[in-house]
Amino acid sequence: MTAHPDMHETESSVREFSVSPERLRLTPEAIERRIGYGDESAPDNVRAAIEEMLAVFDSADPFRCGFRILDPGQVAFHPDRIVCGKVIFRTGSIIGRGLKGCSALALLAASAGPDLSERGRVLISEGRELAGYVLDTIASECVEQCLEHLESELAAATASWGWRLSNRYSPGYCGWDVVEQAKFFSLLHENFCGITVRSSGLMVPLKSASALVGLGENAERKDYECSLCDREDCIIRNDG
């Protein structure tokens, strides 16, 4: 990715990656945390199921993820919305504040594909509910890790331009209505990373995620993001 940021809509502003399972290096501890065990360790049988299903995960096909960069000429930031040509994201003020100082935008999408979920479903229907649930949880963690991976690719691709990255924001979080998912994907080519969006806004495969990241010399990553948010009832609120 060597093109100058003043570029407009070139092939080099869109990148797709194929990420192998070993690259993501999911650990049993991360899966335990995602299930909810926090600092205490999971019961032995859960631990065993996690290890068994991580081996299944390791043999999975690579996962697809990618981003598109909208350069400063293509995007205008406002306190509660982002204007990308004809597309306006009504992100709300929390995200607006988080993107303060940004001049460009990256749209990120990642998918664990349909296979892991399907295998999980089959395991559940065969009476192996625990293994199936664990595999489903691994697929969720995989999507999160793909987004992390994309962020590091994005940082590497834009560092030479002196750009930094903001926090990552997803439709459906921080007051940004998930209904805008369709708009989000209208800025990416059809079937981007194998993802399609239903009229309900649901991405298929289910284990998929989308997010944006602000870019620019003055972009800022904030540590305690939840404290910025006024949604006291948010289930993932973490004021730590």
């Binding site: 999971a42 509910e129 309900s200 298929v204 289930i235």
Partner: protein, 227 residues
């Protein structure tokens, strides 16, 4: 009498701890002991009333599981193990339901609404509702309003449970509730899922909202008390 209460207590403990049968190595401290499978069989052989086995054994254990899950002292895997133990015990009671020697508290028709494919949370609700002595008819995910209506037509005594995980798909609950209430105004409907709120339940005319599976059980049990 003493033997009855001790075996019922052991059954409850097997559910609580997820001890399915003797062969199951989990939990390690109950290794090589009988599980829900063997104990329920033995209770029947001892002539204990099947309804009592269900209420004071299996359901008592599952109630504790619900409380522990709500308090975040246990997580989904433990609930799944408990449900598995419950199923193993219920297998032996099945013939008694057929002959009405044991009865369910009621019927719940459960499904994830149209447009939404989330399954696991809804399944957990189904498991705990079953563990509370209800029959559950799980219609699956992406269920159209007319399919809920048709299911109620087949079992008009049912309570309906709707699940959705996104604010967008949650909107399809509105249509489902409207269609159900139009066709069967007396049918009680409970809704749940991460973005759903009690205010939304009121807004769309659902009878209740539950934040978690034990909440759904509480509501269902309250409808029985009402009848």
């Amino acid at each position: 009498m003493k033997e009855t209460s001790s075996i019922l207590q052991s059954i409850a403990q097997c559910i609580e701890r997820g001890k399915v049968n003797r062969a199951s190595p989990y939990p390690p401290d109950l290794r090589d002991r009988d599980g829900a499978d063997e104990l329920v069989r033995r209770a029947i052989d001892l002539g204990i009333d099947p309804q009592e086995i269900l209420t004071d054994g299996l359901m008592t254990g599952m109630k504790v599981v619900g409380e522990e899950f709500r308090a975040k002292r246990i997580f989904v895997p433990e609930v799944l193990m408990a449900a598995k133990a419950m199923t193993a015990g219920m297998e032996h009671l099945r013939p008694f339901f057929a002959s009405s020697q044991a009865t369910h508290r009621g019927v719940m028709i459960l499904g994830t609404v149209l447009g939404d494919l989330h399954d696991i949370g809804k399944r957990l609700v189904g498991m705990m509702v079953e563990g509370a002595g209800w029959e559950v008819i799980d219609l699956g995910t992406d269920v159209a309003p007319e399919d809920f209506v048709a299911a109620v037509e087949r079992r008009p005594e049912s309570v309906v449970g709707l699940s959705a995980l996104l604010t967008t798909t949650m909107m399809n609950m509105k249509e489902t509730v409207a269609r159900l209430k139009e066709a069967h105004p007396e049918t009680k409907i409970i809704i749940g899922g991460a973005p759903v709120t009690v205010a939304f339940a009121h807004e769309i005319g659902a009878d209740a909202y539950a934040p978690d599976p034990p909440g759904a059980v509480d509501f269902l049990n309250s409808t029985v008390a009402e009848i």
